[in-house]
Symmetry: C3
Subunit: 440 residues, 3 copies
Amino acid sequence: MPRSPGEASHDGGARAVGTRLYDLVAELTPMMRSITGDGVRKTLATVRGALEPAVPFAVREVPTGTPVLDWTVPKEWNVSQAWLAGPDGQRVLDAADNPLHLLNYSIPTHTRLSLPDLLPHLHSLPDHPDWVPYRTSYYHEAWGFCLSDRQRRELPDGEYEVHIDTTLTDGSLTFAEIALPGSSPREFLVTTHVCHPGMANDNASGIATATLLAAALADRPRRLSYRFLFIPGTIGAITWLAHNRESVDGIEHGLVLTGLGDRGQPTYKRSRRGDAGIDRAVTRALKETGRPYNVIDFSPYGYDERQFCSPGFNLPVGRFGRSPHGTYAEYHTSADNLGFVTATGLNDSFAIILRTIEICERDRTWTSTSPFGEPQLGRRGLYRSIGATLDREAVEMGLLWVLNLADGSHSMIDIADRADLPFNTVADAADALAAVGLLA
Amino acid sequence: MPRSPGEASHDGGARAVGTRLYDLVAELTPMMRSITGDGVRKTLATVRGALEPAVPFAVREVPTGTPVLDWTVPKEWNVSQAWLAGPDGQRVLDAADNPLHLLNYSIPTHTRLSLPDLLPHLHSLPDHPDWVPYRTSYYHEAWGFCLSDRQRRELPDGEYEVHIDTTLTDGSLTFAEIALPGSSPREFLVTTHVCHPGMANDNASGIATATLLAAALADRPRRLSYRFLFIPGTIGAITWLAHNRESVDGIEHGLVLTGLGDRGQPTYKRSRRGDAGIDRAVTRALKETGRPYNVIDFSPYGYDERQFCSPGFNLPVGRFGRSPHGTYAEYHTSADNLGFVTATGLNDSFAIILRTIEICERDRTWTSTSPFGEPQLGRRGLYRSIGATLDREAVEMGLLWVLNLADGSHSMIDIADRADLPFNTVADAADALAAVGLLA
Amino acid sequence: MPRSPGEASHDGGARAVGTRLYDLVAELTPMMRSITGDGVRKTLATVRGALEPAVPFAVREVPTGTPVLDWTVPKEWNVSQAWLAGPDGQRVLDAADNPLHLLNYSIPTHTRLSLPDLLPHLHSLPDHPDWVPYRTSYYHEAWGFCLSDRQRRELPDGEYEVHIDTTLTDGSLTFAEIALPGSSPREFLVTTHVCHPGMANDNASGIATATLLAAALADRPRRLSYRFLFIPGTIGAITWLAHNRESVDGIEHGLVLTGLGDRGQPTYKRSRRGDAGIDRAVTRALKETGRPYNVIDFSPYGYDERQFCSPGFNLPVGRFGRSPHGTYAEYHTSADNLGFVTATGLNDSFAIILRTIEICERDRTWTSTSPFGEPQLGRRGLYRSIGATLDREAVEMGLLWVLNLADGSHSMIDIADRADLPFNTVADAADALAAVGLLA
């Protein structure tokens, strides 16, 4: 995907960000993660390590059995080792090689059984014979292995040894929060799930992107406050919401980040509201890239937007990524690997999110102090005095549109949409008008 | 029109219904009907005879001269015989052969006149020389005959004898009502006009369809209450409305039935409101047939929807049929005969109306009892436990969509529309969720 | 552009109007106008002379220095003579030949200078080497000449004499108003700018059109009241608004007239509201011409609609003309001359404005006195008794639509739009129904 020089300079060294994102994805991908346990803790420690020490990073532990909305925090799962040995005593599969080999949340099991008895515990993908699928059994006690269909079909008859050294005990659910206060208490929420093991796009890319976004925003002046959640999928979102029912009203915008590094077009899934500020801000950021993108409607199927957009909360939270889950064969398989994501894709996603944040930071609603007739811009030095290096006509149109629509009911995005001008042209015009007292 | 096995089974023996409808149309078509008189009474007796005795069937008689809204009930018209004899004394035309031959509401007339004096009293269709037109003169005293243009052109010179043995006297206007109470007092109104003589599609098909619909619904459990009106066009609707001005507020949905048996596509004409529940229910029933259909906007021209949708009432009443009047040459002629309608067409119309009724019966608005986050469906046995024989993915999407939109402001149709799922998938999901207490 | 006989007769001698408009444009074009001064006064005297003495015509003078909204009335500018002489003493340019030669609002200047020193004061159009541009410097003190680029390039070296005999002194800003009271105090505002010198389309065509419109309306019965403003652009509109802040609420409709005589299609620019009565009335008038036209959205760039549609006023004022400014090369040059406008174009614009006014005059919202069921039209003689020479079906549909939508919330335009009938068919039906007491 060719990039124009303007984008690179706009992002402030975004190519470098792409490479840093890729390196962090590479570090996070191989870990054995689940919805609870030390895999999550190790992931959060990696996130912590990628941030400056001054960035506030709070790890929360919620005990097993805690009621959370309609759910209960489950037992904590940990793995010391898990392998399958063949009739010849050689290890056929070992979770140490690839965490996907172990059915996630497998109960402890040590047994010997024949191939016919083993087969119901094996999961493979006949349509993609070289890929290992990702499977879980969180709320139904089971054990199993995942492997390539090619390997499965070649398993010889004989007795197999199952050695699944896991624990499923009272413990806790672990998640982390980063809160970056702004001049306004209104919050921009960024969430990413931290429960998927061994896959690069879903969702090491989300964890890495949220991490470096937090790092970037920690260094900037902020109008909005920002909250980053690193949570296990579904149960983590439900746990966080259960503990923050009162404070969610402070959420002005939110994004669920997932699948940000593949070669597909950027894709935004609207919030349940459909026309929330975040919906319009991401759409504008995407439109102003000048490159293809997708915006899709909300549906109650997907990632944690399901929880944030449940009818009782109905938060202005959309989802951003590239190819949506279910639209690519590599989804939830071993083919979602470090070759499936690119620094370019990660970089582009990061730039669009930062651009969205910039738009939200500047998307104010002004009121003209001189609404009767046009104010005389000439004597205030506003004709030709600003934007000397920009397109003068667009600058003047920006001034006129902002003055005309600054009636207390049009945001900067509203004005940019109606005027068909770039957001920055409108926001810059508003800043110039505010500086001479024509907006309040 | 080929029909899939699924439709036939869905309709519960609908093919048989088509044949029964056709037979009833054949019985009703030849009668001499008008807006008042014994033709209406004979028609209503035929309807009564087609219903089980337990079905409540009330015949009303409203006396001539009764003020009804802006109108007055007219004199009652009856025909004993009506014929025209030629110069040779032979009968040229006889209403006993075809009720269309007599200008409807002709005043009593016994006279002899020459062909030139006769011609102004003769009505024919030069563009369709073999068809006899249907003509009326309800509110302007006149007499006349209708005949094929071919016959008219061949009339020899000479003296003709006019023998119109009609009476136009104080009597009454006759109509019938069937009221089938449901668990809710909210009403679904079905009306059909009973004034057109000698034609199969307009409107023996409407009378027959309303009759067998009432028979079918009398046997079913009903949430809504149903009211069937068998009324003369215009003056009958006005008379009924005049006597029910207070109770029309109970009408939740309504359909005017006319022209249900021809070979054209099913056509729905929206109510004046345009987006009433009936408008959305019929549209969904039509869409889910998977076959071509028409939905047209309201206009104040047509059948009795003109009265039900007059601005003072503005009832949620649409019109259902096949080819709209005025779009086919056979309309209001002798060519609207038993060859113009088919059991297949009647059957298809009947199935769509029943399906509309089923949708209205189930189109409730629920509220989730667990709106904060998604409820845990697994522990309630709602994943994979229902719809084992249906498409599991659609079933799960149905559950998720209903939960997400069950906020007290979305009906089942709303949810089916937004989710792009079949109505039954959504309604079944709601039933399953209600059964475990997740909806109220 | 061919015209049907119907249009000509409808307009009451519109061809004659086109010729009269053209003659008035020809008289107005050559004058030296600016935003203040005797050029405006001479223009207004010409307007006055084209009106019957009985038409009320008020000329206002607002003194230099008067604060008007965010602005101040500037010094008055007058020109006695202005010329440039070449090295040979011959006059190279003389404002007496063409008022465009003088930079409008040039300060008094008498000097001699070399060609290199002169050139920064000369304005020409390299892309159109034979045309003289129109340039102003109202709020920045400057002097200069405008000339064809061909002439500029041929100027010989040597010393030039600049003789600009202007005055820029305390005086006043001049504008005129015509107020024609109607039976309602609600106003239809027509404005045109009177500051552009030497050009036929922009805006001698606007001045001429407003003048003959006022003449035509003065002779007619009027439901609405009409106010015509002949004002200098921007500062004139601001001055008038500053003196009428309280009374602008009486403005029901408004049109800014400019560029009405060129060969382009008629073009309407919507008010800031977008769906005001004037927006719908002009659109309908244009649609019913059956010929191509443009309707464009409001933007805060253009003519005095900028002031009337500033957010504090937000008046229902649109702009009507033919080719919009900026879409034709001749705009603001000497090529906007008497060959650029035609009597046909002026006539067509005039007819559309008159038609718009007729629609606004008749665009009432009625309420049926018989809203329950259809009233019986036959006994009131409304079937076939009116419109005998018109299309009977359209007449009857007009009656039925008006009765159906006469619920106090639909205007005649609303009904014409929904019924897809000509406005007059609907308005005539309403008049007929009102005459028999069915509307109030």
